[in-house]
Subunit: 261 residues, 2 copies
């Protein structure tokens, strides 16, 4: 199952990064690593793996993709794992209450490949085996990748789910013409961290304006605010512009500013 002597060195592409969030079974992590490398992808990140890491069960199942496991970046917070990404795609069933692009695997692979070729840093995010991604995590994504599954038996094994994306990506790479990405790279895309800075700034000022009411609706209201801004796939320059907009809109606003520092 490992490399035979006559084989060429494996393709090992750094982007897209594939992020497994709270994976439970070491075997699934290993199987995911193997199938990623089967299709030339070599960047694995883990958020809060359940078991101790490194995990010997993962190494056994990786069957030669050990290097990929050794290089896997481990983070304890979702946002740290995608902080440097410029395009975040969440693998999940289609959520009902979020306005985001929904792509099949082939469409997602095409967009992600085009993004990589344009110098972007896309990340594809998979949730844990049983529960899947949380709404808060999906809310941070630019787009959703969903599979054409059997509605009566929709839940894929984690490694198989990664396999479907990895295959679609390998196929897209082999295809002659990749759909053009929509941005002409006038300005580099904003990173997830820059977007978070924008959202935090906006939310802080909106709290001062008592925008979030009633309190129990606040998380939903914040998600609904993020959705269109994520969809716009902002550039760094545009994030700066929008932060300038917030400053201009709040300038001279009296009263509570000093209290809140």
């Amino acid at each position: 199952m490992t490399r035979a002597p006559h084989m060429p060195p494996p393709i090992e592409e750094k982007w897209p990064a594939v992020v497994l969030v709270r994976p439970q079974m070491g075997e699934n992590i290993g199987a995911a690593a193997r199938v990623l490398l089967n299709f030339g992808l070599a960047s694995l990140r883990l958020v809060e793996p359940r078991d101790r890491w490194p995990n010997p069960k993962a190494a056994v199942v990786a069957a030669g993709a050990d290097q990929l496991l050794e290089n896997a970046r481990v983070e304890w917070r979702f946002e740290d794992a995608v902080a440097d990404a410029t395009l975040v795609v969440a693998a999940t069933a289609r959520p009902r209450d979020m306005e985001k692009p929904v792509w099949g695997p082939r469409e997602a692979a095409g967009k992600i490949l085009a993004a990589v070729r344009a110098g972007e840093r896309p990340a594809v995010v998979f949730g844990p085996e049983a529960a899947g991604l949380e709404n808060e995590e999906i809310a941070r994504a630019d787009a959703i990748m969903t599979y054409p599954v059997n509605p009566g038996f929709p839940s894929l094994n984690l490694a198989n789910s990664v396999a479907v994306f990895a295959f679609a990506y390998g196929e897209a790479r082999q295809e002659g013409d990749v759909p053009a990405w929509f941005r002409d790279a006038l300005s580099p895309p904003a990173t997830q961290a820059e977007l978070e800075g924008l959202f935090a700034h906006l939310e802080r000022e909106l709290e001062r304006g008592r925008f979030f009411y009633p309190p129990d609706k606040t998380p939903l209201m914040k998600r609904n605010l993020r959705a269109p801004l994520l969809r716009a796939h902002l550039t760094q320059q545009e994030v700066q512009t929008l932060r300038g907009v917030i400053k201009a809109l709040t300038i001279g606003r009296g009263g509570r500013k000093k209290e809140e520092g």
Copy 2:
């Protein structure tokens, strides 16, 4: 991981049959069963499984696709497992010395689906984990299905290999009605007039905040503000939300309000 009470009954198509030849690990058989049912395929055949059958390890990993395992036909000879098939497709790396059609997964899925719809009985054959199919077995196939793998790391895990085909088949079945666009029509898209209302509101408030400076840059700055908001393809609801945002941000802003009326 199993079926939730609200789910519809699973799709369970009898053809194509998927044949695992001399599979070694019960876990791989179970994982293959699960991913077949994930994509609506319900006909599994085993040729000479290494371990005793039924295999409890397979049942654990099948995670609800038990029926598929229970119904699996077990044969001791390859030719018996494909005797009733009218089209046999062998999953293997491309062999050098056989003149057969070689299909990628998507092409294979399309041909197999067309065969099923024409009343044929296709079978897709996967070899054992380590060694793959023997030449004699490949020779019996009508066509070869091969994957666009990393030449330096080509060997897929058996269940992942089945997953790639099952996905390609599910995709072929759905083709034509795959969701192309992202919105579930929760809220209708904003009209041009609604967008203009939003932009006018924003620009008015930004002028009050002296955002547009120097004056000769104003038209460009306004265009740069519109670009991301247009890209986001806002819904009516989102336009309302953003107008609420502008109000909340400007609330209590002192000074120039009265002057400008």
